[in-house]
Amino acid sequence: MVLIGSARRSRATRVPPVVLAFVLVPLLAEVFWVFWPALQGFYLSLTSWDGLAAPKFVGLGNFSEMLHDAVFRTAAINTVLWLLLFGGLSAALGLGAALLLQQERRGIGFYRAALFLPVVFSLVATALVWQAMYQPDGLINNVLESVGLGGWKHAWLADQDTAFYAVIVPALWRQVGYVMVLYLAGLKGIDPALYEAAKVDGATRLQQFRHITLPQLRSVNAVVLSVIVIDSLRSFDVVWALTRGGPYHSSELLSTYMYSTAFQSLRLGYGSALAVVIFVLAFGVIVSYLVRAFREAD
């Protein structure tokens, strides 16, 4: 603090050139690989481009095409559904796991590690593990058979009605541990005196949860929400590895549709426009995250 005070007095002269370079080199790397491509991406969304000839400017043509694109509609609805289901369930289950495993007691480290272990797997490996379980002769069908629910047996990934949900489960399996860690840290930060006071006042466990735990977790909730929205919109690997968006686009997300449109159908302009839609969906979260970071950076 003292240092900043003294530096502020002579800000123009005191910053040595090497310190400027410390900022500029990483910044240039990011400008080169992120900001400049991002600008191009926005421009390309206004063009029709096959990647070979020069991009042809079509204005908002790509976006008006989306209005009549049934696959886009499916992908957009699935993306929102993914956000709600994957996001809501991972937040709820993560909080539940954190509440269950918050107390330091014997064996707690093992339980936490068990729930957390999938977080370090790649989504591709996760997907393949679950693909084996989803096979017609796989574990899930075998278990259903053995508990007398043989009628529920399914080709889970090949059925249009179930593929989407079958893809969410592995993603959830991996995400819950992550959310749990965030909530565990949040719960640790709550002053125990609050609970003591509530108990003195005769509050039940449920009341304590509602009136102390939840309000105290507000900042963690905001973080979890941002993480979930950003992760949901980025979700790609698990769908790509399991179904590639199929069968018949039933598990298509905007991210997978964008990828296949761009790199398989080679419709680079339309693919860019889909990417812009993803950006627009993420925009609110990005801005609120930055606003919070701005306040803290002060």
């Binding site: 990011e30 007691r105 068990a114 370090v120 797997f121 790649s122 693909q131 860690v181 005196a193 950006f279």
Partner: protein
């Protein structure tokens, strides 16, 4: 101390509600240990069941990876094992090209982690320890770049690397991973370095240290916990990436392990022992990092999010 106080109070309240006489005062005390034992059992039962459910897919893939193909073909992938062999590992490792893929992954991951944390720590040092103009704007600009959905960058990055003639080269993948990740690391390290007292730096200045020496000899060693946490975290992120790899790379022999695993899935359809073995190989390095640096790893997740 506080706990005793509470129990005493609760006992009191119970006593009042039950209009307890003096003899009843001891009554609630006896069920308490039994209640606690019951709760403990209930806890271990719930938590144990949950953990078992969570570990089941991992156990299953380990078991499947050591079965023979004939066993799986005869009994189904969901049956209990009737055989034990490491043949699936050999096939994935040698014929499936996973050995090369793992090397590729390490060739990308290790330099990317070193480079991006090196660059990020420099920027964080400059932004947190010097009164640079627009420091906050720069910090948030860099963080904002990391928050962008990568999809908006895929096509231009792919074309950019073609233009530069580094398409299908591991350098291109390292470049884009560094560029995309650096903003987040700067933000986290900035928060950490800001908390280091100014007096430490002033003492170094008085001793005649130049900015590089302050960075390298004073601030960087003090930021070691944050660097360790970010290393563990970024290692898994970069190692596990699929999207950038399949965007920038073309040739099969250059693909990292995640992309190679998808190739394996296409090449060894329904040979679940090979696919499971491949998954185990692909997960082993990050699991090893996690088990070795568990504390740092978990700290990293919190550093990034809660700060």
């Amino acid at each position: 101390m506080t706990a005793t106080h509470t129990t005493a109070h609760v006992k009191n309240a119970g006593g009042v509600a039950g209009q307890a006489g003096p003899g009843n005062a001891a009554a609630p005390r006896r069920p308490a240990p039994r209640g606690r034992a019951l709760r403990t059992t209930g806890f271990h039962l719930t938590a144990g069941l949950l953990s078992a459910l969570w570990l089941l897919p991992i156990v299953l893939v380990l078991v499947t990876s050591t079965r023979t193909f004939d066993d799986i073909a005869a009994h189904g992938v969901g049956s209990r094992p009737h055989s034990f062999t490491f043949d699936g590992f050999r096939q994935a490792w040698v014929d499936g090209g996973q050995q090369r893929a793992l090397i590729n992954s390490m060739l990308v991951t290790v330099p990317t982690v070193l480079l991006s944390l090196g660059l990020a720590s420099m920027a964080a040092f400059a932004l947190s320890r010097y009164a640079l103009p627009f420091r906050r704007v720069l910090l948030l600009l860099m963080l904002g770049g990391n928050l962008l959905p990568p999809q908006i960058l895929l096509i231009p990055v792919s074309k950019l690397s073609e233009l530069l003639g580094i398409h299908d080269q591991l350098y291109a993948l390292i470049g884009v991973q560094v560029g995309f990740g650096v903003g987040f690391y700067v933000f986290v390290l900035h928060g950490f370095m800001r908390a280091i007292p100014g007096e430490i730096q002033q003492a170094a200045v008085i001793d005649g240290a130049n900015p590089w020496q302050i960075y390298w000899r004073v601030i960087l060693p003090l930021a070691r916990p944050a660097l360790a946490a970010l290393s563990a975290l970024s290692f898994t992120w970069i190692f596990n990436d699929l999207l950038w790899a399949i965007t920038v790379l073309r040739t099969d022999t250059r693909m990292p392990i995640t992309a190679s695993l998808i190739g394996l899935q296409g090449q060894y359809v329904s040979m679940w022992n090979v696919i499971a073995a491949g998954s185990v190989i692909a997960a082993a390095p990050t699991v090893a990092v996690f088990l070795r640096f568990q504390r740092h790893f978990v700290a990293g997740l919190n550093l990034g999010a809660v700060k």
